[in-house]
């Protein structure tokens, strides 16, 4: 198969960062873009052959990996889905029985909503406005904090939220008192079974991911008693449901030395770079600059500033190589989050196929 000439191949595969602005930033998608040169640009087959993932780092709530051989459109789709469409559980309704602290009810409720919960959202279903809260769509937490008269002022922390697997303990006000004597008293939820009977939850009780989030401060004699109901949702409705603190990618930087840079010039170059990309190599002809750490390049363009330096160094980015980082808030592990995001994109396609047929 004929190949593209070098200058076009460079424009196709690299963003070149010039002093004034980055050039060639768009990806050339159209399959017939190079038809006049007999070059086929429909690269779906080569995607299946060449796509690669290399994991750099996995911790409990962070993953960094390289995605090689994929277009920005897909990488960005995964990023957008991670931020706004992968579901988690978060506190949505707060029933306040008593709040004599200085924190207003609505402020306290908002703070509760933002507390990350360590629970797998795949065990639960969405609750619509009409649904009755039951064991499949609602998680109930109770909080009762009190500061005694003689005690010093103290913080109420997220660890004081205790999971109530049997549902709400607050009784509904019943108008007809007679019927309540025969049946169990009605509460704000309608749980048919206790949630801790679920095998996934019995040895893995639900609790806030971090025990030390301050919810409120209470002084002597003040008291907070409330119930918080968590439901399933997605980040595009409210950021409290977003499963990631951040999910981002950057294209792999490429630092090319266009000609030999020797002696004083080499030392100047090493001095110029704040990200420590360059090194000096001793050769028989003298000191020579090398660029062994392009990954640390932040594309600050300090090295091509000044008269004539852009003749020595070229800064580029590979258009199909993404360094992807996902930081989970704790509901799911970051690697599971990414696979969930890919599945959501598949579901979207399936919806289009069924609607068209």
């Amino acid at each position: 198969m004929p190949k593209l000439p070098d200058h076009l191949e460079l424009k196709r595969t690299r963003v070149s960062c010039k002093l004034d602005a980055p050039n060639d930033t768009e990806s050339i998608l159209y399959s017939g873009a190079y038809a006049s040169m007999d070059v086929d640009n429909s690269s779906l087959e080569s995607f299946f052959k060449d796509f690669k993932v290399v994991v750099n780092r996995i911790t409990e709530d962070e993953i960094e990996f390289d995605m090689i051989g994929i277009d920005a459109a897909l990488a960005n789709a995964f990023r957008r889905i991670l931020i706004s469409e992968v579901p988690t559980m978060a506190i949505e309704k707060v029933f306040i029985e008593k709040n004599t602290s200085v924190v207003q009810d609505e402020v306290l409720a908002h703070r509760l909503g933002l507390v990350p919960l360590r629970v797998d959202p795949r065990l639960f279903s969405y609750k619509s406005e009409k649904d009755e809260p039951n064991e499949k769509n609602t998680i109930v937490f109770g909080l009762h904090a009190r500061c005694e008269q003689k005690e010093p002022r103290r913080s109420v922390k997220s660890e004081e939220l205790s999971w109530l697997p049997k549902g709400s303990m607050f009784l509904l006000e019943i108008e007809n008192k007679a019927s309540s004597s025969t049946t169990a008293p009605k509460t704000y939820t309608n749980f048919k079974s206790s949630q801790d009977e679920l095998p996934e939850l019995s040895d893995n009780p639900i609790h806030p991911k971090y025990p030390d989030i301050t919810l409120a401060r209470i002084g002597p004699g003040q008291e907070i008693e409330l119930e918080a109901h968590a439901v399933k949702g997605v980040g595009k409705e409210h950021a409290k449901w977003s499963p990631v603190a951040t999910a981002w990618y950057r294209m792999l930087p490429e630092v090319v030395l266009l000609q030999d840079i020797i002696n004083e010039e080499a030392e100047k170059l090493v001095q110029k770079c704040p990200a420590n990309v360059f090194d000096i190599e001793d050769t028989p002809t003298g000191k020579k600059a090398t660029a062994p750490r392009p990954r640390s390049c932040t594309l600050c363009r300090e090295c091509i500033r000044g008269e004539g330096w852009d003749k020595y160094v070229a800064l580029r980015r590979k258009k199909d190589h993404f360094i992807f980082t996902v930081e989970s808030t704790g509901a799911l592990s970051p690697e599971v989050l990414f696979t969930e995001a890919v599945k959501i994109l598949e579901d979207k396609c399936e919806r289009i196929i069924t609607e068209l047929s």
């Binding site: 399959s31 996995i58 469409e85 599945k343």
Partner: protein, 105 residues
Amino acid sequence: MEHGSYQNPSASTFSITEEDHTLANSLRLVLNKDPRVSFCGYSIPHPSEARVNVRVQTTGDPAGEVLKDGCQNLINMCEHVRKTFDDAVDKFKNSKATDSMDDSQ
């Protein structure tokens, strides 16, 4: 959903609700890679309305069929991404496990 003409099924606009750049841009990618497509682009008519219009013009095949194939291609690509990713994670975890075993010796 589909706005086209019966006389010429090779060009249509598909109006997709509850979707945004996430799906539309990915579809634009796979459809442009399809040699049967002569033009594909999308627009979001109004930012506060959850709707995206995808325009597909082909060299002759019905646009709806081409869009369906595009969706199927995108699904295949996603499956491939997922599989490659899972393999890479497994590989990384295994190498970590053997590393820590070496350390303990």
